[in-house]
Every structure is written in C-alpha cells, then in structure tokens.
C-alpha cells in the first residue's frame, strides 16, 4: 500500500493514479510562492520562451484542427468521460479529435503513441502523463515540430508541455469541503475528518486548507475534533468511523476526502443507528456513492467534473493551435460554455472549484 503515492483519493484505481501527477503538480504550485520559487520561475520562463510567437487573443479558432487525447490508459471509465467530452467539444469548433492510448498505465507505455501522433502531424496532443518525465523526450520532439502539447489531469514536467489543465486546486478542494459540511450541519456541531494515510500528501494539503477555512468567523460553531486515518483500507476506514462515533458522542459530521474513506463511512452509517443523524461528505465518485445518495445517507459530496475537464482541455488545445494563447501567464483562454480561464504561473489553468454531486445530478454521471 505504502508505495502508491497519490494519497489515494482512491477512486477507480486508475483515477487515483491519474490524479497522482496532477496532485504533485498542485503541491508544487501551492508552494510556488515560497520554496519552489526558482522552479516556478524557470518553468514559466520556459513556457514563455517556448511560445516564440506572440499571442493574438482575437485570432479565430482554425477549422479542421487535428487533436488527439492520450489518457493514462484507455477503457478506464473516468478517462473515457474526460476524453469523450473533449472530443465532443472539438465538434463545437469544427475540429477533428480522437482518443488513443495504452491499455496499461505504466510509465513508458505512452511514448510510442506520442511518436505515432507526431508522424500523423496532429495540431495538438493532450496527454495525461503516467510519469512526468518518461514522456518528456517525445513531447519535446513534438513541440519542436510545432505541435502544441497540453497536459491534462496529470501533469508532465513543466518543460515538456505548453499548458497544464489542473482539475482543481488544493486550496479550493480544502475550503469547499468545509463550506459544504457547514451547509449540511447548519454551521454548528462537532465533526471529524476521515483521511487516507497519515502521510498522504494531497489529503494533508487539503486538511491544512480545511483548518485555514475553519478559522473564519462563520464557522465558529463548528469544531474539528479529530483527524482519523483509515489508510484507504475498507475495514480500517469502517473501524475508524465506528470508533469516531463512539468516542465523540456529539459528532455531527464526517468529511472523508478520499474515495475509499467516504464510501466506507457512508456504508457503515447507512447500516447503523447513526443514519440520518451524522452527515457524511467528502470526495467520492458518483458510482460508488450513488446508493448512499439514493438511500439518504449522503446528501452531497464533491469531486471535480470530468466532463468539464475534457471540455476545457479541448478548448485549450484549439486556442493554442490557433495562436489565441501561447501558454504565458496572464493570458485568457475562452472555453466555450465554461467561459474564460486565466493562465496562472507555470502555464497552469485551474478548472475551478470542485463539482458537487447530489440527488438531482448524480445520474448524469457514470464513472
């Protein structure tokens, strides 16, 4: 267990893996202002220099652009949704999009696909990197031939791509979880966090922002009594949930920012006397949470919207290939129905706040 890094927001296994690099990138960005200053400067400098031509925000999107999505692995329900949405978006701007990719999410398996895409003279390649460095060589080659490279969902080394579409920022994830719980608990009562492992980087970052958010006066009635760790093991998460409810008789809510944790907490509570008395929320996938939304154990939970991620990535590819943007910080990307996004440091675009799933919309998603 210990060596799987993405502190397991363990959704479908590969979703977790997919997000790994993304989260690492988040962590990098989060520290960007302080410790990683030099890194981020060189990164954005590189992105700037890579964009030799200046951006023309008013350039029309070219018709017939050829773009290709290269997910971590094909036949994964999550990546299928992301890429299909991106392909649909391409139809909006009259481009030709397709999805190609390996059947396993190993570090090197994407390389041969990139080489093929270069030979096919695609206008843009969108890649969800299995490994931030393994794909670098071929991606650099692609860029030297004028092909735009967009990382989405899971970043590559910043030198190797023009833009990274980040699914959610750590800060937003953390803060919005507290907001959501406060809404569900009417802003008062004791609550606990059921996390993954104690050293899970992304969960810890989210929890840190949760604690920041709790300092605001509007949450004065809420008290975080315990951070428990279920190690993303079903049984252990079960036990932690049981223990929390016994140890803290006044517990009114649980935030589980990990997909194994939220499912276990919800499953335990749905079959216990605490159902309806204790609020469960956190980060989960619609399929695993559907039953608990329907039986009323869980009212709302969050995750980013994979459809929007694909859509935004697709528009970013088109804008890059048409010269509307170059990937430099401060440029504005016009992304169809999603409106505008500004490119941040390190050539990164954040999709937005996490998406909230509830009874009314959960059936629109299947992953």
């Amino acid at each position: 267990m210990k060596q799987r890094p993405f502190a397991r927001l363990r959704a479908p296994r590969s979703l977790a893996a997919m997000a790994t690099a993304g989260v690492m990138a988040l962590a990098l960005t989060a520290c960007g202002g302080t410790t990683k200053d030099s890194a981020s400067n060189s990164g954005s400098g590189d992105a700037g220099s890579g964009a030799s031509a200046s951006a023309n925000p008013n350039a029309p999107i070219k018709e017939g652009l050829k773009i290709a999505f290269l997910p971590k692995q094909i036949n994964n329900p999550y990546s299928t949704i992301v890429d299909k949405s991106g392909i649909d978006a391409a139809k909006e701007y009259k481009g030709e999009a397709k999805e190609v990719g390996p059947s396993d999410a190993s570090a090197s398996s994407q390389v041969s696909y990139i080489n093929t895409l270069i030979q096919q003279r695609q206008d843009a390649i969108l890649v969800a990197a299995n490994d931030p460095n393994a794909v670098c060589g071929p991606l650099k080659q692609a860029r030297s031939r004028g092909i735009k490279v967009i990382a989405y969902d899971s970043d590559t080394n910043p030198d190797c791509r023009d833009i990274f579409i980040n699914q959610a920022s750590s800060e937003e994830v953390g803060r919005s979880q507290v907001k959501l719980l406060s809404e569900l608990m009417d802003g008062k009562g004791e609550f606990a966090v059921l996390s993954a492992t104690a050293n899970a980087t992304n969960q810890n970052t989210w929890i840190k922002f949760m604690q920041e958010e709790l300092k605001k006066p509007e949450y004065s009635g809420m008290k975080l009594v315990k951070i428990a760790y279920g190690d993303d093991d079903d049984q252990k998460s079960f036990q932690q949930t049981q223990g929390l409810l016994q140890a803290y008789p006044n517990l009114k809510g649980i935030i589980a920012p990990t997909t194994v944790g939220i499912a276990a907490a919800a499953r335990y509570i749905s079959g216990s006397k605490y159902k309806g008395k204790v609020v469960v929320t956190g980060l989960g996938t619609p399929n695993q949470m559907r039953q608990f939304i329907k039986d009323g154990t869980v009212t709302k939970f969050q995750l980013w919207n994979p459809k929007d991620l694909g859509y935004l990535s697709s528009y970013a590819a088109a804008a890059l290939a048409s010269g509307q943007i170059t990937g430099a910080q401060g440029e504005t990307l016009k992304a169809g129905r999603l409106g505008e996004r500004t490119i941040g440091a390190n050539g990164e675009i954040v999709l937005g706040p996490p998406f909230t799933f509830e009874k009314s919309n959960i059936d629109e998603f299947d992953f």
């Binding site: 049984q235 016994q246 079959g271 039953q291």
Partner: protein, 348 residues
C-alpha cells in the same frame, strides 16, 4: 488446549508436573484463556472509559469487524499446524471479491450462485498452492509468495481500473453482509459455525489429528503412515475455500470493491494465528485460539479509536503481541522440555 499437551506421550497434568510455577504453566499452556483474559481486560477498560463501547451497536460492530479475519485465521491455522504457511489469502480475498462483484453486477444470479462462485475461485487458488507445496515439494513460503503476486496481478488485469459499487450489487448479497437473524448478524454467525466445524474435525477425527502430527514431525508422521501430501493439500484447499468465502463476504459487507482490496491481509492473518497460539513451526494450536487472536487484533484497532489514541500505535501493538506470543511459545517449550527430562530421570 494446546496440541503439545495432546500428542506428546503422557503429558504432565498442569500444576502437578514440574512443581515450579504450576500456575504460570497453566496460563501459558492454555493460550486461549490468556487471550480471552486479555480481551476481557481490554474491553472492560475501554468500557469503563467510554460506556458506549459495549452498547448493542458497539458489540455488533466488534463481531462484524472480526468475522472476515476469523474465517481467514481458521483456514490459516489448518495450514500452519502442518508446518506450512499460506501468504496468498489476501490476494485471493481480493480476487474473489472483485470477480464475484463483477459477476453479480446488474444481474442478480442469486446469493447461492454468488457464494458458490466465490468459494470455487478460492478452491482453485488453494488447490494450486496445495499441489505445488505437497506434490512438487516447493517450500510453502516461496509458493504462496508467488501465488500472492500471480493472483494479485490477475486481479489487476481483470479489474483494469474499474471498481464495483454498492449500488450495482444486488440487495440479497448486501443483506448477507449487514443483515441479521434473530438480532445476530450473519457474518459472525458464519464465522463461528465454520470455526466450530473445523475445530471439531481437528480434535475428534484421526485425520484431523494427523495435521498436528505432520507439523510436529514430518518424518515421524511419514513413518507412521500419515498421508502427508493429501493432508497438506487438504489444508491449502480449505484455506483457499475459506478465503473464497471471506472474499464473497467482503463484497457483501463493503459493497464497494476496488482491485485488490485486502492487500496486506495475509500478514494480518498470520499475526492473528500466531498471537492465537498456533506455533509458526507447526504442530501446535487450535482454531479457537486463532479466532480469538483475530478478535483481539481487530478489537485493538477499534479500542484505539474509542480511547482517542493515535492509530499509528495499532501496528506497534500488534507487533508487540506477536513478540509476546512467540516468547510465550518458547517459554512453554523450555518448561515442557525440563518437565519431561525430570520425568524421564525419575522413571529411567
């Protein structure tokens, strides 16, 4: 009721032999009693601090939590008493949970078919282990470490990034995991029945006694005409079958299954068995002890949360228990040897 006291010739009665520290002998030899006492103390202290621990819901939770581990521990006991080990059970549970989950998803084939499929897959895994160990003579540690990875890989291949969600699993199966008959949940009931059956077999049948004989001294057992290969094969088959059953129950209990959910459980099971007084070198131990060991380890996990102790300590405490258990085994062996020497000197 350790097996040492049963198949060594004319064992000294506890408290009468040796004469020095008879009570300690008693306590050490009756490992089940020691664990039971530890368990009672643990529960009593926790309840004193937080009475909710022993509420109806609390007790139900403890037994529900332990049942899957108890099943696996019973299977593992059969293997360990024959001086072997089965490290592949965690992977088998994972494979079964996923495959059965996949099979029943969106099409209810009925509970019986699902359980049969799970047990069948487990049996195949156990058979492979058993054949390799007993007929090919490959060391059990290596064989089951190999099958651990093979089964794990197979599971990853089948799962392929998918997951089973509770919403897709038929209610009849989910009910097995959370339902109850006359207020007693099915899961612990199944575990207790299995434990009693296997316990009775090992104690009362001569073929059951042969498992201990093999573990005590394979050479002597062979000379005595014990069908070693067949017994070892049976042990692995039983362990596989129980892992298959446990995998199905895992699906029933948790509903959500990712690939390889019980990763790392093989060591948990071995720990439970050893803490429960089954000697890792074979020949000694009962399924009751192993089941109590599983219950103790599971309860410690729950107690720590209730007592608001950092759960990092859980692993450390389990490790400590293991060391204690092994030290106790050693102590018993030394005392027994001394007692026997004295006897021989008297009679010789």
């Amino acid at each position: 009721m350790t097996a040492i006291a049963e198949h060594k010739p004319a064992p000294p009665k506890p408290g009468t032999g040796g004469g020095d520290g008879g009570f300690i002998d008693l306590v050490l030899r009756f490992r089940e009693l020691t664990i039971l006492a530890a368990l009672i103390v643990l529960v009593a202290v926790t309840t004193a601090v937080n009475p909710r621990f022993l509420s109806a819901q609390g007790v139900e939770d403890i037994f529900l939590n332990a049942s899957i581990l108890v099943l696996l521990a019973v299977g593992q006991t059969l293997v360990v008493v024959t001086r072997n080990i089965d490290l592949s059970v965690g992977s088998t549970v994972g494979l079964v949970a996923f495959v059965v989950g996949d099979f029943v998803t969106n099409s209810d084939h009925g509970l019986v078919v699902a359980v049969a499929l799970g047990v069948g897959i487990g049996a195949v895994c156990g058979l492979v282990n058993g054949l390799l160990v007993s007929f090919c003579g490959v060391p059990a540690l290596v064989v089951t470490l190999g099958t651990l990875y093979v089964i794990q890989g197979l599971n990853h291949y089948i799962a392929h990034g998918e997951q089973i969600s509770a919403a897709e699993v038929p209610q009849s199966i989910l009910d097995l995991g959370n339902g109850a008959i006359l207020g007693v949940p099915y899961l612990p009931l199944i575990s207790v029945v299995v434990m009693l059956l296997v316990g009775y077999y090992l104690r009362a049948y001569s073929s059951g006694r042969e498992f201990y004989a093999i573990g005590s001294s394979p050479e002597a057992a062979r000379l005595a005409g014990v069908p070693i290969r067949r017994r070892v094969l049976t042990a692995y088959l039983a362990s596989g079958v129980l892992a298959g059953l446990a995998g199905t129950l895992w699906l029933a209990r948790f509903g959500t299954v990712i690939a390889d959910p019980a990763k790392g459980w093989e060591l948990k099971v071995v720990a439970a068995v050893v803490v429960g007084g089954v000697a890792i070198v074979g020949g000694v131990g009962t399924v009751y002890g192993a089941a109590l060991g599983a219950l103790l380890i599971t309860t410690i996990g729950s107690v720590l949360v209730v007592l608001k102790i950092n759960s990092f300590w859980q692993e450390a405490i389990v490790g400590l228990l293991l060391l204690l258990a092994i030290s106790a085994d050693r102590l018993v062996a030394l005392r027994l040897a001394r007692v026997l020497r004295k006897r021989n000197a008297r009679h010789g």
